[in-house]
Point group: C2
Chain length 342, copies 2
């Protein structure tokens, strides 16, 4: 029968006095040190059981100067792509016996700084960024080498990172569309592209340039945001219907691509007959027949696994030295949203 007066958790000391040993001995039992005599250990374990004792991680961590906690900072957890990665990170760090502390920044630089402050104050052992930083230099100074950091599906020059080869991904898309016979290409990305978006665009433009093509660059934040080309307002119906309308569009990510599909549907534009659309990420739903999106595939599992691996390499001191960039390879998954132009 537990005798704990609910609410005041038992401490090492409580267990010690019940088992008639010193706190040190209880501590040894709890941490599984082999130095304690079997009968003592049994007595202690019984006391632990009776009091429903749980070690206070705060005290332990205080003493050790670090918590067995990893901070995860993502820009937008409403986006299933990042949400899934966050959950993968949690799963991976759990295998090391670590807890995950989560923060979403929603792209707000202040919230980002707050989040990092929170993590630092809680003395996390490491930090995983699932997004690019708003103010990389400030943040670097803020972190100041106090904890190991890894960027996953993002990067910064001052820390380890794991990304898919965005540039090459963009190239693959351009080549694919060009091979299909498209000559009028376009790129659709968020109004405020992060560096991944920029790389994808870069690769896309580069491969297009190799074929003497100059894709249009469209800014759009689906589903509601206004559309613009080179800063000038525009709307989808004219963009997609004009005589020079693009026949092959590369969307910076699958969610934009899927929303674009929706726009095309609503305008009666048929995909892929009238318009080819290619995405990036290969999110879960891209495989659905209803969506059936041609896209650049990146393995979230692999990115996260490599990232967490690198992070613990730093934490455990197995890895030292300059930041290391791991590039995972991108591959094109051709599905039904792309085809030859009419």
């Amino acid at each position: 029968m537990t005798t704990d007066r609910a609410g005041r958790p038992a401490t090492l000391g409580d267990v010690a006095s019940l088992a008639r040993v010193s706190p040190s001995t209880v501590s040894n039992v709890v941490r599984g040190s082999d130095v304690v005599a079997p009968r003592t250990r049994r007595r202690v374990l019984a006391a632990i059981e009776e009091l429903a004792y749980r070690p206070n991680a705060l005290a332990r961590h205080l003493l050790q100067g670090r918590a067995t906690t990893i901070g995860v900072i993502a820009r937008d957890l409403g986006n299933p792509f990042y949400a899934e990665m966050a959950s993968l990170v949690e799963r991976e760090v759990a295998r090391f016996g670590f807890a995950a502390m989560l923060c979403a920044t929603d792209g707000d630089d202040d919230r980002e700084e707050q989040a990092i402050g929170l993590m630092l104050e809680n003395r996390v052992s490491g930090l995983v960024f699932l997004s690019f930083l708003g103010r990389p230099a400030e943040i670097e100074k803020m972190i100041n080498g106090q904890v190991p950091v890894v960027f996953v599906a993002a990067e910064a020059p001052w820390a380890d990172s794991v990304t898919v080869d965005e540039h090459r991904g963009g190239e693959l898309v351009a080549r694919h569309l060009i091979e299909l016979g498209h000559r009028r290409l376009a790129f659709v990305g968020p109004r405020q592209p992060d560096r991944a978006d920029a790389r994808r665009l870069e690769g896309f433009l580069r491969a297009a340039a190799d074929a003497q093509l100059q894709p249009a660059v469209i800014a759009w934040d689906p589903p509601d945001g206004a559309v613009s080309i080179g800063g000038a307002k525009a709307d989808w119906s004219t963009i997609l219907r004009g005589p020079d309308a693009a026949t092959g569009i590369f969307a910076a990510n699958d969610f934009a691509a899927i929303d674009l599909l929706d726009v095309a549907d609503s305008l009666g534009i048929r995909v892929p007959d009238d318009l080819s659309i290619v995405g990036f990420d290969d999110v879960d739903m891209a495989r659905l027949r209803r969506i059936n999106l041609t896209t650049v595939s990146q393995s979230r599992e692999a990115l996260v696994r490599l990232g967490v691996e690198a992070l613990f390499g730093r934490i455990e001191g197995r890895i030292a030295g300059d930041p290391h960039v791991t590039l995972a390879s991108a591959s094109l998954k051709v599905r039904g949203s792309s085809g030859p132009p009419r």
Copy 2:
């Protein structure tokens, strides 16, 4: 210029000696107590700046007996529905100045207990469950009133909970299909239904029974799991094609519904002409023209807001007494995946 030898964060004491005051005074400044003289405060702030001092939350929390941290436990964060809720919880608790500690259990009872143990050891101030528990009784004993708990989109008899009215949601679906003229109904749910699934089914069956109908109950874990009816193996092509094949199917959640759409597509069965499909949750993508799913809408934002509200009510002692169940109303959002049978 910061003089911190990188890696050993400055402490209250460091700041105190640099500013030539006592640690207590620094503490007062840090916590914004109004008791300290302006010029002293300025000196201390300068020292804090210079040393890039950050209070150690572990020490603070140890002393206070509780961390300003909320634990979030979800079954499956790969499911965007839960992932989004988790991120909403994070956002809400952040407004109270709390951090979120996240764990996914993947439906594994042991991981669930580990997760809760982790939270308790870290002395979280409250716990949010985004899923039903595997062993509610054991977990209740484990938590033993030590921290306030709230269930969101789930419930347990011993804690506060916020759920949509699942039963009524199920009724709405049945009535909708019946009104459209369907007589052969079916329900598709996971092999191991949780209580939400069960309630939805209950409501569905109840309303069907009122119309003298007996829907088939199909077990399926999309996208790969085998299908069975009443324990007997089956496959979609016979289920959907036989002479008595259901013409109206209620899927326990939108993801199942969408996967079912996919199955129908692959079999050349037209929705809604040959088959009406209704989901539950109204996930983001249900609105897409390509999906256009009729579904029962529950507002994740509202559920989470109410849940976090209730949790902090307990934490701050504003609320006491017996567990309270908040039922959010369910409403049917009719889209294109349901229509009259042929």
